[in-house]
Structure formats: C-alpha cells, structure tokens
Symmetry: C2
Subunit: 362 residues, 2 copies
C-alpha cells in the first residue's frame, strides 16, 4: 500500500456526498459480549439484515475476527464477501477510512486518528489498538492508496454535500477529549485540506445523551446539496427540543459553500427509547467498557440511516413515528426505495445503521 | 462467496501449469517461534526478500496475523498488499487454494481438506484449524468462487503440466496418514474431476527425510509440458540416490497425457544441509510441534523454486552446487530471469520457496 505524503485537496481529490454513487460498502461483525447483549447474537441478526439489504444495491464486505469468521460466513448471504479483520468494536463509520475521489474517478482513502470517542477520559472502551488499523486493512483489500491525518476524527462526526460544504458539531470536534492540541482554526484547515471543502458549518450539539460526544450523523444529514434532514421533537420538555431548535436556527441562518440557503426537513424522532432491565443484564461486565444501565435513555434518531445506491436503509423502532419518518423520506428521496430495518439491537450497542456502515465511493 | 456444488472438470475448468501466466501470488508471514528460530526474525527477512522479488513480476498479497500485521506492513515494500489472515503456519502452497481456469479466462479455486501433513499421527503441529480456513479467506479477497473437495491434499504434493498430466508421489497421496478411507482409484477420480487431468503418474517417494511425506514439489517439477527437472545426486551412498534413480526410471518409462516421452533434466542437489546446535536451540519448545534437532539433515533441493511471470525464484544454499543449478535453470528457462535467494532460514522451517508461495493464474 502506498501512503501518500501530500493532502487530498492539493492532489485534486474531494469527499463526495453519501448520496453520490458507491462502489460498495463495508461493515464489521458485532462480537464483544460487554457491548452486545447475549453474546452479540441478536445484534448479529440485525447486522446481517442490514448487510443483506445493502447487498441488494451495492457490493458488501463484512470484516470479522478470526474467532467469529466461520459463524459470520455461515450466517451471511453468499453474495456478501467476508474477510478477516481484527477490531475492538463494529463502528466502521467511525474507525474506517473516509474516501475521496478525483475528477477521473480515482479513489483514495483518508485514515484519521481514533481514540474510542474520547480517549482515557471519555472513551467508551479500552484498548482501541485494533480499531486504529482497520482503515489501512480496508484500503489494502480495496487496493486504494492512503492519506494519513493525525486529527482524531470519527467518520460519523462529519457530513459533506460533495460541493464544498461540511457540517459537524462543536460538541465533538472541539471537545478537549479529542484534539486538545489543535485550535478550531487548525481543525478547519485539516478538514479543508483532507476533504477539499471550503465552508464548515459548526452546529453546537448532537443528539441528547449521544455518547459519541454528539456526532452530526445522528442529528442531521444532507439529502442532497442544499437540503438537510434534521431530527426533531415537538415536546418542549424533551431536552432534545432545545438541541434540535438550536440546530434549526443555526442552519436556517447559514449558507453553504455555493451561497445557497438550506431547505431543512424535520424528521420527528421516535418515542424515547430506554434500556430494559433484561437488556442491561444480558451484557458481560468489563471494567474497561462503558456500562449500559437499566433505564438509560438511548439517542434514537431516524437520521442515522444509510444511503445506499438506489435506496435508503432506515432504522425503525416499532413505534408510531416509524411511518412518519418513512413517508417523509419517501418524499425527500423520491427516486430511492426506503427499506425499514428494526434496529433496537444496534441502538443498544450505542449507534445505528449509519454508524455500522461505510461506503466506498465509485 | 459462492460455493459451487459441481466439479471443475464438468464445468470446463482445468488446473494450469505453474509456468502459465499468473494474475498474482500469495504468501503468509512466518511467525510461530516453535518453528521459526529467534522469534521468526531471520525467516521474516527471507520471506520479505522472496516477496519483494516476486513483486517485481506479479502482484503479491501477504497474509499476516493480527499480532504481526504492523510489523509485516513495516518490513514489506509498499507495493506488496498486506492483509490480515489467521493461520497456524506459513505454508500457503499446502494450505491455500488450488486455482483452476476455463477457456474464457475465468478463475475459480479448489479448497482441499488439510491435516497438517499427517494428522494426529504424523502431523507436524496441532491444531491446524486456522490453516483450514485460509483457502476460503484468500478466495474471498480475490473475489473467486470455490469448489470444495474432502480429499486431504496439500498443493505441494501435486504438479501438473496444464495439458492433462499430473505427477505426485505414492509416499504422500497413498499414505494412510492422509486419506485412509479412499482407495487409489478414488483418489485418482478426485484428481481427475477437480483438476481436469487425464493421466496421473505415481512416483514412489519424495526427497529423503522430507517431513511432508515426500511432496513431489521438492523432488521434480514441470519446466513445460514434456520436460521435467529432477533433483539428483551422484553419490551412491546418499539415500537420495536410490530415490532419484527410482523416479528417473519411472519417469523415463512413462508417457504424458498426450503420449509424449519426458525429457528429464537432473539438477544436482546442494551438499547435505544439517541443523546446527545454535539453530536448534533458538526455537521455542512446544509439545505439539515437531522438534527440530541438532544434526538433523534437511531435505534441501533446488527443485523447490517458484515460477513467477518472466522469472524463477530459486533457493540457494551458499555451496558450490548453487552455480550448477543456476546454469542448468538458465538453459531450461531461457526466457526467464533466474533470481537466487539464500533460503536456509526457510529450509529450517521445513520447506522452501515453492512451499511458501501460491500462484493465482490469470
């Protein structure tokens, strides 16, 4: 593998929007019993359902540890390619490469630094050494050259419109648990040079109680350039209300890299989702892993969908808001099939469908 | 990955000769300190030299365990693709897939059963469970469909001319430590159906003291259809003399699948190679691994070369026979560069350059 010493912008590469065509998608098989209940068996079924639905539209690689290899190979459809990769947990959106493309359709990867969403202070588990090698292992199998940045950044903390605009949250990217040695200006320079964007929009906070320090990909995303979907609640007593309202105001008063005002669509969040006693008790205890307690509210949001070629893979929570989200997204993505996947078992691990997928652009 | 339920012959696939064009080559990084002395560091240097020379002529993948990944990636040239694969040891000739091709240039793999060269009776280590998954992991990364045979067979125990002829040894393929439940006729039927050969030549024995139960790939090989190179000694007191003479007589009196007599070229073996006290003592002890003792003679042979696109990667032993082998092979392969690699550190592990490589045909 070639590690490139320059930066994507100077080489004419940019990060495309997720809605642009994909060459394929990567996932990692859930396994660790201190984060996935009942030995990860329910989560494995949910991941398999996600993988198989994505594979209807674009090629899927699933990385899996040596110990789970045969089980994953057995459970996944034969059109899914299963390869051995070690990792600490399955959030490839955050630990995988961010791919960039040039005008000739050439693809390269960016490897970021990673500290398990907050390092020794706020991180969700320890250690995270295997996670740090996932990007280069993926790129090696894909046969793509690699840029390396020393910025601690998870893929879920950024969204781009592919036309120069990036949205992120201050709660995450300016958090002292990530890059205390970089100023806001330095972080912006890195994003500009590695993703080839010209306008960075800083939303204040992510979804209420999101343990990622408020990743943007659970709060809002681009439907296409100039159009944003935002998680929403009408309940003024829900702490999420102030967060979504704050984001709405900021985005309404912003323009993108091309000078356009945003068209913003509210997606009503599901009814609040809480961890049950049974769910909490079906996890292994570990002193080095964030404990998931009975009664804790989870950061459930429909925004955490994955845009696959020709379709949307949408998390649903078996509540009445599911259909509202479905109908809104049908209107927003009128040329894509909307596929609903019950995703509570993924949410229990701390994220959702967008967090467990990573596209390789075409 | 698709597992194909038919057999290569009925689908029009055949195993090509090693001298036919390759799409690439696979190797596995040496690691286990009970088989590779000094924590495998000297062997890793030798493997890297082999990989880098092959990579001058065809793409190379090196599989490596999670624990050695970063070290291998650091030590290997950047044009070599390093991917994570678990295995029990590095003999990909024997544990990797045997690839077959059809007339349209499509490639598929055959996965054999494997029992570490003799199972619980004669096997060289225990367990070998990771080895048994290497073929499918390789084929998954290559994107090739797979046939599965229940014959215990290592790739080093067969050579084909690509035109219907296969040579192997009775010592290995008829050994009760491999396939006691199959008759000779049943084994021949499997070889015919999986490799699409029509003539099987059974040499009696492999090289003296070869712990693989006498693999053919250390004794003789095809230079091209109708032409064979055979390891040789003129020392009638060397036990190898009777073995090579026996093979010479048998091959001289055989014809290939096309009815041709063979032209046989003798390659004088290197002077006998013995394990030194220092070498033996720099291995870890394990009750489940064949112990390599001070004074043991190793099965050194120049025949264990790898035919790469446009070149030969030839083991040498720093003795006077090296130049004889070089000169003979220059004549035999007059359109290929002959690259000599000092290979004692590979031989100490139990095999040589052919044993640690596996081509994927074009």
């Amino acid at each position: 593998m070639v590690k490139i010493n320059s930066k994507p912008k100077q080489d004419g590469y940019r990060m495309p929007g997720e809605f642009e065509p994909h060459r394929g998608c990567w996932m990692l098989w859930p396994e660790r019993p201190d984060n996935w209940r009942l030995g990860a068996k329910p989560a494995q079924k949910a991941f398999a359902q996600v993988a198989e639905n994505i594979a209807r539209f674009e090629p899927v690689f699933v990385g899996v540890s040596s110990s789970q290899y045969s089980n994953a190979r057995y459970l996944l459809n034969k059109n899914i390619r299963v390869v051995e990769i070690s990792y600490n947990d399955s959030w490839i959106r955050d630990i995988g490469p961010t791919c960039v493309v040039n005008n000739q359709g050439k693809v390269r990867g960016v490897k970021w630094d990673f500290n398990a969403w907050g390092g020794l202070k706020d991180g969700l588990y320890f250690p995270w050494d295997d996670d740090c090698l996932v990007s280069e292992k993926v790129l090696e199998i894909e046969g793509l050259d690699m840029y390396v940045s020393d910025l601690v950044l998870e893929g879920g903390s950024i969204h781009v419109d592919g036309e120069g605009t990036l949205i992120t949250t201050e709660e995450c990217l300016l958090n002292p648990n990530r890059n205390p040695h970089f100023s806001k200006k330095q972080i912006e320079d890195i994003l500009i040079n590695y993703l080839n964007v010209s306008k960075i929009i800083w939303v204040k906070r992510g979804v209420y109680l999101d343990e990622t320090s408020g990743h943007i990909d659970n709060l809002c995303c681009f439907v296409k350039p100039g159009v944003i979907a935002l998680t929403w609640t009408n309940d003024e007593n829900d702490p999420q209300y102030a967060i979504s309202m704050e984001a709405l105001c900021l985005l309404t008063n912003s323009t993108d890299a091309k000078g356009r005002k945003f068209k913003i669509h509210k997606i009503l969040q599901p009814e609040p989702q809480f961890i049950t006693k049974e769910e909490s008790e079906s996890l292994d205890y570990s002193p080095y892993t964030k404990h998931r307690c009975y009664g804790d509210r989870m950061p459930a949001s429909y925004i955490n969908f994955y845009i696959v070629n020709s379709a949307i893979i949408l998390p649903v929570f078996r509540c009445k808001e599911d259909d509202l989200a479905l109908n809104t997204l049908k209107e927003l993505f009128d040329n894509r099939e909307i596929i609903q996947i019950p995703s509570r078992e993924i949410l229990l691990g701390g994220g959702n469908i967008h967090c467990i997928t990573q596209q390789i652009p075409k």
